[in-house]
Amino acid sequence: MPTIRVQTEDFDAGAEIAQIRAGNPRVGAVASFVGTCRDTNDGDAVAAMTLEHYPGMTEKALAQIVDEAIARWRVLDVTVVHRVGELKPGDQIVLVVVSGAHRGEAFAACEFLMDYLKTRAPFWKKEQTPAGARWVEARASDDEAAARWVAGTKDAA
């Protein structure tokens, strides 16, 4: 059963990795990703950021993305945790963990989840910089990363 959580509290990547493996000897591979808050963005110092989201839709959008990943690759289980609220440089933002029998599917599903989450889940970042607060702009590179999966260029992975 996939685990999806949106929360203000920090998360424990090691505990989530242990949890997804626990009691399932069919697991041979666990790929995971932790996204963290950097101290610079687009060349400017970032002192803090606020993550806003759309309660209700966020969970629904994440569930759809997770279902898509499970249907596309034969992975065993998925955990997604995304934080909201005030974050400082070095803080963890997002965790994706995917378990599978073999590494290829686990890696592909994990990267797919991050790419889709970045373009489809309703979260917005506002950064505090020396020049004041600003909303982070969506990156074309994120759209391109998500589009790779539609084009199927990574299907062989």
């Binding site: 889940a121 909303w135 982070v136 969506a138």
Partner: protein
């Protein structure tokens, strides 16, 4: 009635996060609803005008200009997402 939601920069620019709106006469789609809101003028016109990169969700599902809008729907306007 419609439930309208605004997030992130749109919420700040419009100065409002949520409102209830009686379904305006003639509005049946996202595009129609957006045009109705732009007609309010001021920040509504500048923030929701065509050409701005904005996203719309109807009942918490991503929607396009032609997506149907009807009584009881929850319609949200927001910028391209930047989580993760």
């Amino acid at each position: 009635m419609l439930k309208l939601l605004y997030f992130a920069m749109l919420r700040e620019d419009l100065g409002i996060g949520a409102e209830e709106l009686a379904l305006p006469a003639g509005v049946t789609t996202v595009a129609g609803l957006r045009a109705h809101l732009v007609a309010r003028g001021g920040a509504w016109a500048s923030t929701l005008a065509g050409g701005k990169a904005l996203r719309v969700a109807v009942n918490q599902e991503m929607a396009g200009p032609a997506t149907a809008v009807g009584p009881g729907d929850e319609v949200a306007f927001f910028p391209p997402v930047t989580g993760g």
